[in-house]
């Protein structure tokens, strides 16, 4: 018996629960040199903003213990260029395409999402209200339940396919923001974005990031991400996408057991571009060994003390 890896996120069925995380796979072109993108459950693009952005000056990444800090600052080609130059490539890929959207005002989000609504190849959008590296928009919205609800509700009016709200862990109670996103009309929640952190060069006495601080990602944050998914799973009914430090099929199992329907692989793509393919293979093997017919049998099945 070959275990069934299909999962459903709102109305969209994924081939498998393994997605790539925004900002860690560009617009798919480079990753396609590692494996056919059809092997992914879904690809999530870098955050797209209305205008192109250069992001912050270098250095904008720095290594950390079992992870990294980044303050890329939403560098991206901008909406127009994305549609003209990147979508044609994505159109040829036999996988679910999620476009991650960011902005510095609700108007920005709405404008970008409205335009993307007219691009049929965009299967879903992921609303990034959790970027810790920009002054406006991003985390400012995601730490405020009212703003969160409002942003998602506005986007909801202009985008007809499934909407993922991407949550930040930099809050006292993530389930409050999760419920706000649900109230705003999100179909799916993804979590977590990076944790605010910094690093100082003890030689130069300067921050190691020109943005002075950045977002922590990688295996270092996995326990925090798992606890966040666990918490949100108990307080909303939306399907969840687990993100944070995932590097192996066993990590995927952990996230699904606490309630994730799918997961995103971010930083560990840098360590191994073939990672997603290996994870899909190992996940199938895991299910086979345990005689589980479908990967969905894992979702939320942790047995708490």
């Amino acid at each position: 018996m070959t275990p069934d890896l299909k999962v459903k996120l709102g109305s969209v069925e994924l081939n498998n629960p393994i997605m790539t995380a925004s900002g860690c796979c560009g617009y798919g072109e480079e990753l396609a040199q590692a494996f056919p993108l059809s092997r992914l459950g879904a690809l999530v693009t870098k955050s797209i903003t209305r205008e192109p952005r250069l992001g912050h000056p270098s250095p904008r990444t720095v290594e950390a213990a079992s992870g990294m800090l980044n303050a890329i600052g939403l560098a991206n080609v901008g909406l127009d260029c994305f549609i003209s130059d990147k979508v044609p490539f994505l159109e040829k890929q036999d996988t679910t395409i999620v476009v991650n959207v960011a902005g510095s005002s609700i108007g920005d989000y709405v404008e970008v999402c409205a335009r993307l609504n007219d691009v049929p190849r965009v299967d879903m959008i992921e609303v990034n209200i959790s970027c810790p590296n920009v002054k406006e928009g991003g985390i400012e919205i995601g730490t405020d339940p009212t703003m969160t609800e409002k942003t998602i509700a506005e986007v909801r009016r202009v985008f007809s396919r499934p909407i993922i709200a991407k949550l930040t862990p930099n809050v006292t109670d993530i389930s409050v923001v999760a419920r706000a996103a649900e109230a705003g009309g999100a179909d799916i929640l993804s979590l977590i974005n990076t944790l605010v952190g910094t690093s100082i060069d003890f030689n130069t006495w300067r921050p190691r990031l020109t943005n002075n601080r950045g977002g922590l990602s990688g295996p270092a944050i996995k326990p925090v991400a798992l606890a966040a998914v666990d918490r949100v799973y108990q307080s909303t009914n939306l399907p969840l996408i687990g993100i944070g430090g995932i590097a192996s099929a066993m990590d995927v199992v952990e996230f699904m057991l606490v309630g994730a329907t799918a997961v995103q692989i971010g930083t560990s793509l840098f360590k191994d571009p073939q990672g997603p393919v290996n994870i899909v293979r190992d996940l199938k093997e895991y299910l086979k060994q345990r005689n589980l017919s479908s990967v969905t049998k894992l979702i939320g099945q942790v047995r708490k003390y």
């Binding site: 250069l54 250095p59 290594e63 980044n70 890329i72 930083t267």
Partner: protein, 264 residues
Amino acid sequence: MSKLKIERVAVRNLRHLSRDYYSMCLGPWPKGCRSKPGQFVHVGLPESDIFFRRALSIAWVDPDRDESHFIFKVFGRGIRLLSRCNKGDEVELLGPLGVPFKMPKKNETCLLIGGGVGFPPLYFLAYRMIEKGRDPRTIEFFYGGRTSEEIVERTRLRKLGVKFRPVTDDGSFGEQGLVTEAVTRYLDSTPPRNPRIYSCGPAPMLRATDELARRYDIPGQVSLEAPMPCGFGVCLGCVVPLRAGGNARVCTEGPVFEIGEVLL
């Protein structure tokens, strides 16, 4: 670009050269032998507590023995750990990566300007040019270091037959001063025919080279360094600003850029 796949390759040899400098040979690694001067590998140590791979230029390859050679200098913990490998240990390799140097025109005089660990890609370039039939005497190899100890692999370089022009800050070997000062003296005293510059080294040296090249209106290329989380173009962590506006990724659009292209 070859298929993006991490490979495990064995350390065949690791030798201390001087001070913080080491040479390392990895193999068998068929892909490496197809690499071109200016390209690099991204190398990591499995199961270590160093999170990212490190970039190393390819210094030369030996297709008969299926092996690639590297020269490195220990700055921080990552490369230090590499320097402690034993023969037979396996490293994780991604590569060869990046855009190689453009080969010069037949009638050009090549000024190779290297500082410190900028040496390996330039050595590879000289080696390959000569292999392809260029007269070694049309290659002026300026090689700067702080002291004599930083001018490594001299015998190997001499064997190529290039015009070897060592320069040290303290004058302990070759000319005294900065390598770009030596280049300026050379350009002023014996202006070469159709010069073309290839340069790699620390940031201040590259800035000086860039200035010099534009002052003397000499075309050419520089190879840059940047911290590289991914090495294959997806993280946008390694960007440098372009003179024409916008950014370029050192790992993918570089590490080799045209002189004047990048705001150094």
